[in-house]
């Protein structure tokens, strides 16, 4: 194992070790190769803290470790700020504090072991427990002895990333909700089993004959057992039915409470009188089935919510503020008008303002949808939220917070969300009719029996209410939605809001954003035109050599094409123009044609010289012309075609230039498109469609898409999109695979079909059972069997969605 180090895989992360790498770590006496400095540092940290057993226990290779850069460490230190900690830390007496962390990079149970052992060994950490199912950790520490950032840093040192999240917001609510649901389920389940046992004895007694005293005893015990099930487990149905009634609605809980309450009251009456039918078995079973259905639905909802939470980082955006030449990293909220801020290449602009020094290209695609970076010189406006690409910029802040362009978009988003047109849920609509019909019928039956046989009127009316017990009806929707949501989550399509699947099935129009949604959102080399004997590859190598230290998207695209380039010397960059440098003794320039012309004193005019192309030239003249384009995502064409085949109208709304939008639309076969749309324009287009009766599904990724995402009846955000887009969307395409959209639409339609089948089945069952009950032919045991079979049919039908989702 010690000999041929070169061909091996990294001992830590399993990636191949590059031939040039010499990173070795002694683990238990043997020297193991590592692929990079990050992995080496992590492995060394694990060895140093005596936790090498990790390598023995683990069942998966760890993810490749990345070194934290000093800026990231400075950002971690922000978590120590008292004002920030208030939102996610609970303070206990004697200076100990507690918070919850999201742990990234956990792949197997050994990771949990490693993290727990490593962090617990830190002085000052009082408790650290990792939940393997949710990848969350709870940590309690003594703030006098250790800072939160030290704990986060220690976790980074062994190759994981942790960031706090606000447990009060969701985690606590989820846990309480889950525990309450489990308690209710436990009481209902155990109660149901006991009552059922007694019910079997009573049914057998009907046939074989039973001592009257014993029979009465069993009935009383059944009642005793049902009371906690009704009062404790079934309480939630009654409270939400009451809430519905007060809002003058007939929801699903109204017939449920009516059935449970009615059957229970009738049975209590019969028990007290000592004659008549009892329905305690049906009541408890009904309660248990419904609670179980809702418990599973809640589980699916929580899992989706937790996955969505991982997309949200609590850390406020930070900026480098300059105070008399000293640089200081502060949260964006601390910035005020007039502050001088340094923006490095790759950082985002913290607020609206003006450039005071330097010039660079700025990527505004997330805010405007424009796919090409824009040049910003001293005096030019900078919009908060855009990304600096090329060289450092010094800016002066003009406006912060509420007055920025970004907050204007957020306000538009809030308004769009409030005005969102809803689609009533199918089950609720059916429930309304069902309850109304049921009440009329029950009244009719009661009236008829009152006229003819007043002695039986009460018993028969109640048996009508019990037999029509809407168990299957109310399980129909949650069972189908739970199964479908689970299947889609496995595909990487996260459903964050309950109505999304049903609404998606109704969608008539599907509207796409261009940059970052249909396209990858970054430039790639499209074509090369050469003018001399120098061939394409040679030109590319020289170009890549010149672009080596640049963050500009064009530079990155060139470097990606020619990974092994010669070294360039005497580099000179003119932002917005190009770069000059010496490669292999010759002086070259790359950039806009005018800039290259200056070098060769020639006048090469190149056709189609746009922002998305550069010219390479030396002192003798132009050598090559490179064109770039934002490429379509894999599967975009198939997705659009299949969506159109599914009967959806596909439209394209983009903030980009007309010709870019036009070419994408024609490649994909989209007839309707709109270029240069601001968020307001996009929203207006959607409102126009909606007022014509369309159900609009929107797919986007940027900040500029957020208001439209919120305004559309159902919306999907790309997993790599902005947080604002995630927050305003109903579903998130975590996989970033466009074809999964088609799967989502198909699944949603199948879900709707299954819900309809389930509702139809439940109604048919009720229509058959009702007349039998109305004439007084249904014995309680028939009601119990009928009810459980119909519920079972509904659940099994819903489970079909789960299986099909896999294929």
């Amino acid at each position: 194992m010690n000999g041929s180090v070169q061909q091996e895989d990294c001992y830590h992360c399993g990636l191949p070790v590059p031939a040039s790498a010499h990173y070795l770590v002694d683990i238990e006496g043997e020297s193991h190769p590592m692929c990079c400095r990050g992995c080496q540092a992590v492995a060394q940290a694990i060895v140093d803290s005596g936790l090498t057993d990790f390598y023995r226990y683990r069942t998966e290779k760890s993810p490749q470790a990345k070194d934290l850069v000093p800026e990231q460490l400075e950002e971690l230190a922000l978590y120590n700020r008292e004002d920030l900690q208030k939102s996610f830390v609970t303070e206990q007496s004697d200076d100990s504090r507690e918070t919850s962390l999201i742990l990234e990079g956990i792949v197997c149970a050994a990771c949990v072991w490693l993290n727990e052992r490593h962090v617990r060994a830190l002085p000052g950490v009082q408790e650290f427990a990792v939940n393997y199912s949710t990848h969350r950790a709870r940590v309690r520490w003594d703030n006098e002895r250790i800072r939160l950032s030290d704990i986060l840093e220690a976790i980074s040192a062994i190759g994981y990333h942790a960031h706090p999240f606000d447990p009060g917001r969701q985690e606590q609510i989820y846990r309480d909700e889950r525990r309450a649901a489990m308690r209710r389920l436990a009481v209902a389940g155990l109660g149901m089993m006991q009552v059922m046992m007694l019910a079997v004895a009573l049914y057998a007694g009907e046939h074989e004959g039973m001592d009257a005293g014993l029979k009465n005893f069993l009935r009383w015990v059944s009642m005793l057992l049902t009371v906690p099930v009704i009062l404790y487990s079934g309480k939630s149905f009654f409270t939400s039915a009451w809430r519905d009634l007060r809002r003058h609605q007939l929801g699903m809980d109204v017939p449920v409470s009516l059935a449970i309450g009615g059957a229970f009251a009738a049975s209590v009456w019969a028990t007290l009188r000592g004659s008549g039918e009892i329905y305690f078995d049906s009541v408890t079973m009904f309660t248990f089935f419904l609670l179980a259905g809702r418990f599973l639905e809640m589980g699916a909802r929580h899992r989706a919510g937790q996955a969505a939470e991982e997309l949200v980082k609590l850390l406020p955006a930070t900026a480098s503020r300059l105070n008399d030449g000293n640089e200081e990293r502060v949260p964006v909220t601390d910035l005020g008008p007039g502050d001088a801020v340094l923006i490095r290449p790759g950082e985002s602009v913290p607020a609206d303002g003006r450039v005071t020094e330097g010039s660079s290209s700025v990527d505004e695609s997330l805010l405007t949808g424009e796919s090409l970076p824009q040049l910003r010189k001293p005096g030019d406006l900078l919009v908060g939220g855009t990304v600096n690409n090329e060289s450092p910029l010094l800016m002066q802040v003009d406006s912060v917070g509420e007055e920025t362009v970004l907050s204007a978009i957020v306000r538009l988003l809030d308004r769009a969300q409030m005005e969102k047109p809803g689609i009533a849920r199918l089950a609720d609509r059916v429930a309304g009719w069902f309850v109304a019909g049921l009440l009329v019928l029950a009244a009719g039956v009661a009236w008829w029996w009152w006229q003819h046989e007043p002695a039986h009127a009460f018993a028969v009316t109640l048996s009508v209410l019990v037999v029509t017990c809407p168990c299957a009806l109310s399980l129909a929707t949650p069972a189908a939605l739970t199964a479908a949501t689970g299947a889609l989550t496995r595909l990487g399509v996260l459903t964050t809001r309950g109505h999304a699947l049903e609404t998606l099935a109704h969608a008539t129009h599907m509207i796409f954003d261009k940059t970052g949604t249909l396209t990858e959102g970054r430039l790639r080399l499209d074509s090369v035109e050469t003018f001399t004997t120098l061939d394409r590859n040679e030109c590319l190598r020289i170009a890549a050599a010149l672009e080596q230290g640049s963050e500009h998207p064009i530079a990155r695209a060139l470097i990606a094409e020619a990974p092994e380039s010669p070294r360039a010397e005497a580099m000179l960059a003119s932002p917005g123009q190009g770069i000059e440098g010496v490669v292999n003794g010759d002086r070259y320039r790359i950039g806009v044609s005018a800039y290259v012309n200056e070098l060769c004193m020639d006048d090469v005019s190149i056709s189609g010289d746009t922002l998305s192309s550069v010219v390479l030239g030396n002192e003798n003249g132009a050598l090559a012309h490179f064109c770039f384009a934002d490429h379509l995502r894999a599967g975009a064409e198939v997705t659009i075609r299949q969506l159109q085949q599914l009967g959806l109208e596909v439209e394209l709304l983009s903030g980009d230039e007309l010709n870019a939008v036009q070419s994408v639309a024609s490649t994909l076969g989209i007839d309707r498109f709109q270029a240069r749309s601001r968020p307001e324009d996009k929203l207006a287009r959607i409102r126009e469609l909606q007022s014509a009766g369309a159900v609009v599904a929107m797919i986007g990724d940027g900040v500029n898409d957020a208001p439209v995402l919120a305004g559309a009846q159902v919306s999907l955000a790309m997993g790599g999109g902005t947080q604002l887009a995630h927050a305003s969307a109903d579903m998130v395409l975590l996989s970033e695979q466009l074809p999964h959209l088609v799967d989502a639409v198909r699944t949603s339609r199948r879900t709707l079909a299954v819900i309809r089948q389930n509702l139809a089945w439940a109604l048919v069952y009720n229509i058959v059972a009702l007349p039998l009950a109305a004439v007084g032919w249904v014995a309680p045991w028939m009601a119990a069997i009928g009810m459980s079979t119909s519920s079972l049919v509904v659940v099994l039908n819903a489970l079909r969605l789960r299986n099909k989702g896999n294929s």
């Binding site: 238990e28 050994a110 990792v130 006991q194 007694l198 014993l214």
Partner: protein, 61 residues
């Protein structure tokens, strides 16, 4: 069948105990992580914390 008058109340008491145990398990967080503990039990926590001699780990790999 008179024995039922005794057996059924006993079953009620047992059921009460079962519910109490269940509620206790929920309260003490035993349903929070259904996967982790199954793995945890397999990992030794009583190893000496100082780096061990290589001799002790011949069995590894």
């Amino acid at each position: 069948m008179d024995i039922l008058y005794l057996l059924i109340p006993i079953s009620l008491i047992i059921m009460g105990i079962a519910i109490w145990v269940f509620l206790w398990a929920i309260r003490s967080g035993q349903f929070e992580d259904l996967e982790g503990p199954a793995h945890q039990i397999l990992m030794d926590d009583d190893d000496p914390r100082i780096p061990r001699k290589p001799k002790l780990n011949e069995d590894k790999e």
